[in-house]
Point group: C2
Chain length 189, copies 2
Amino acid sequence: MSVTDLPRSRNGVNVEALFATLDAVRAQPEIARFQFRSSHRWITGTHNQGTIHGFYGAGQEHLHERVTQIDADHPAVLVGADNAPTPAELLLNALGACLMSGLANVAAARGIDLENVTATVEGDINLLGILGLDEDVRNGYEAIRVVFHVKGDAEAEKLAALVEQSRRRSAVFDVVTNGVPVTIDVASA
Amino acid sequence: MSVTDLPRSRNGVNVEALFATLDAVRAQPEIARFQFRSSHRWITGTHNQGTIHGFYGAGQEHLHERVTQIDADHPAVLVGADNAPTPAELLLNALGACLMSGLANVAAARGIDLENVTATVEGDINLLGILGLDEDVRNGYEAIRVVFHVKGDAEAEKLAALVEQSRRRSAVFDVVTNGVPVTIDVASA
């Protein structure tokens, strides 16, 4: 049975389970503590591979049903072999994905049927920063723009409000706009 | 011919081309302006797909050799169908990939041969934030930890310095630690 066949579902979201989960977390807030992970191995040059599989949450270890491997590389114009997208593009992808997943949950909770949702994410970056050629230029993006197209059974204002609520509750949007402390250690190999 | 067969290469990095690129950008800094992109489509529930292909840089439009599609979803414990990693994991992946790609370039530029490099990235997140159950809990990660294992033909201190220099010039590390302005618009569908 696919998730769209589940009772009390909308947009493929099991609304009953969603609200039951909220109730469970309200009753036992410590189950909301999660730890996500990725592991990485260098292949050659700027080409490397990340793997996502296990995570901790709701008081126990979990494994995703599938192991996901995502390669990264630099394109030829940046002296890479272009085996895969750049890490900077993977960051934009994470942002777009988070806003999209959130939107579907919000729409389901609000009783709005979605027909079609697409989004584009673009980021402007001046590579004088990462190339070490101008200390006044930051390494990362100067600005990121997201544009959503949402089609569903509600007026335009209500569809736009789905995007706004998704933004208000997006983990990746929060990190990308506000930053988070990152520690980096080097262990003996 | 694979990139590792190129003359003047180290760790699969074409050092000659790398330094030539730096010279070219010094002479014409406007070619350092890049724009990266990803596009997204909703599939069902929290399952959606991002696509990475075109980008702008060095004065012109480019296409990666391959179209990359990366799916995202929520796991069963978060009422998703677990078709793919969560967007929050994709963010960790982007960070690990960026530090890894940079490290290979830095090692090549410093004349250090790498043997084996791995890294793990983990992020702690309290879902009381994104679930809207505690306004004092942020939506995003509270902390992210990266651990590198670097094996190469240099003493431990110099290998650790590669990681540090990669961090200093990482686009994704900068965004994830310092944040960036993100605008979100909703266009008529």
